[in-house]
């Protein structure tokens, strides 16, 4: 059945690439959210190659007042950053983040996937619920998969909204990531012997239970 379907469908030719480019342009223009290739193709006529159309469109918008940006595995049109001064009226009041929240965000971004215990180990203080909640609420971080360590603690990773907000194609494009990695500063070195601090990692049981209860509360 599948084969017949596919044969049948391939009888309808996909529209010319220039037309596909127009379609991608229209769809990206219509929304403020990044759109994935899959979503694009699901809207376009069968046989369309959204990826190629995107590549064309991206070139077309190079140097324009509006630019095609890659955000994770999605695409979005955004105004060129050098023209921000024209948009003072449109500026959204940005919520001030606490220093703890900013640091926690950076640690999640650079160390992801990272557990709460690891964040605490790096910052040297316990992470308050409110801090994590605020970042989750902004949809800048989300829960990742559990770590395969004793207690299987949950991890945090950054989201597509985070990438979109900071104009990043992927978390690999974080500023200074390479330097930090080669300097060994993204490692999670175990302390020799025992260091004091709020790292609850002494007791994996406890870590597991707090991690879980936090995930399942609220």
């Amino acid at each position: 059945m599948q084969d017949i379907d596919e044969e049948e469908q391939s009888l309808f030719e996909a529209p010319p690439l220039a037309e596909q480019e127009r379609m991608v342009e229209a769809v990206l223009f219509a929304t403020s959210e990044p759109v994935t290739l899959r979503e694009l193709e699901s809207r376009m006529p069968h046989g369309s190659d959204a990826g190629e159309a995107i590549a064309l469109l991206r070139r077309r918008y190079e140097g324009r007042g509006v630019q095609l940006m890659k955000v994770g595995d999605a695409y979005a049109l955004r105004t060129a950053p050098d023209l921000g001064f024209l948009m003072r009226k449109e500026t959204v009041e940005q919520r001030k983040l606490s220093r703890a929240a900013i640091e926690t965000l950076a640690i999640v971004a650079y160390h992801q996937p990272v557990t709460r215990a690891e964040i605490e180990e790096i910052r040297g203080v316990s992470v308050s619920r409110g801090t994590v909640d605020q970042l989750l609420e902004l949809e800048w971080i989300r829960f990742g998969r559990r770590k395969m360590t004793p207690g299987r603690p949950v991890t945090f990773v950054v989201t597509q909204e985070f990438l979109d907000h900071f104009g990043l194609e992927s978390a690999r494009d974080l500023p200074g990531l390479k330097e930090l990695r080669s300097a060994g500063l993204l490692e999670n070195r175990p302390p020799p012997g025992h260091l004091p601090g709020p790292d609850g990692a002494d007791d994996p049981e406890e870590e597991a239970s707090t991690g879980q209860s936090e995930l399942f509360e609220d």
Binding site: L77, T91, G184, R189, G193
Partner: protein
């Protein structure tokens, strides 16, 4: 000469002020590591070349001062102080060959690493926040054309549904049960009228059932209806103040008496 003394005094004052500022600000620190980082910065060297021994001294001195000022320090600051005192002794004393734990240098190196890593994350956070940001420096489409999601609802029914529906109605017709058996119903109005005529004679307690109309006691259906309405009528008369009513216990006979 006088100048240098004055100079020394001045630095001493500045140091004291700085130390006091630190102590007063202790709430502003996010834990011992943050405090260590701030103290480390006063060494004015690359964090990688920091003297952990000196840092430990600075920290311990800080804690001493805080104690002298009777400031309450959180437990984790004191734990860190104890650990740094231990580290200090490790760094100062020649290594004990019998000791299997990590050397003072290893511990110091790790603390230096922690400080450097924390500083690196702070720098990274600052760089991140300084990036061009959506809604501040670059902007999304202002006039979004949200996807029109039209939801078309279609209704279906099968021929079987249709026939069963019809069958249901027709079947009901065939067994139309609405035969009103008025004969078996004794209304409350009837009971009330009867009771009003009878209560005048109820001087002593008498059973409710003795007030049932003639011919309604034998057939169970008629008896049930008459009992219910006579009871309801009695309650009405109690409410009006013409009757007393009582029942010794559940299911015991209900008795009535005229109220004077």
């Amino acid at each position: 000469m006088a100048d240098t003394i004055f100079e020394q005094d001045r630095t001493a004052v500045a140091e004291r002020l700085a130390a006091e500022a630190l102590i007063v600000d202790v709430d502003g620190f996010e834990g011992p590591l943050d405090l260590l980082l701030t103290l480390g910065r006063t060494q004015k060297v690359d964090l990688r070349k920091i003297s952990v021994l000196q840092l430990a001294r600075q920290y311990l001195a800080f804690v001493e001062k805080a104690k002298a000022l009777r400031l309450e320090l959180a437990a984790d600051y004191l734990v860190m102080a104890a650990w740094l005192a231990f580290l200090k002794s490790r760094l100062l004393l020649p290594p004990d060959p019998a000791d299997e734990g990590p050397s003072g240098e290893e511990l110091a190196a790790h603390l230096a690493f922690q400080l450097e890593r924390l500083q690196a994350m702070r720098d990274a956070a600052a760089r991140l926040m300084a990036r061009d940001r959506l809604g501040r420096d670059f902007f999304a489409r202002g006039q979004t054309q949200d996807m029109q999601r039209t939801r078309r609802v279609t209704y279906t029914a099968t021929l079987l549904d249709l026939m069963q529906g019809y069958a249901r109605i027709r079947t009901r017709d065939e067994f139309r049960p609405f035969v009103m058996d008025r004969d078996a119903v004794y209304t409350m109005e009837q009971a009330l009228e009867r009771m009003r005529g009878l209560i005048g004679f109820a001087g002593g307690w008498s059973d409710l059932t003795s007030y049932l109309p003639d011919g309604w006691g034998a057939d169970p259906v008629r008896r049930r209806s008459a009992t219910a309405s006579t009871f309801a009528a009695s309650l009405e008369l109690v409410k009006e103040g013409h009757l007393d009513i009582r029942q010794a216990e559940a299911f015991a006979p209900i008795e009535l008496r005229r109220k004077d």
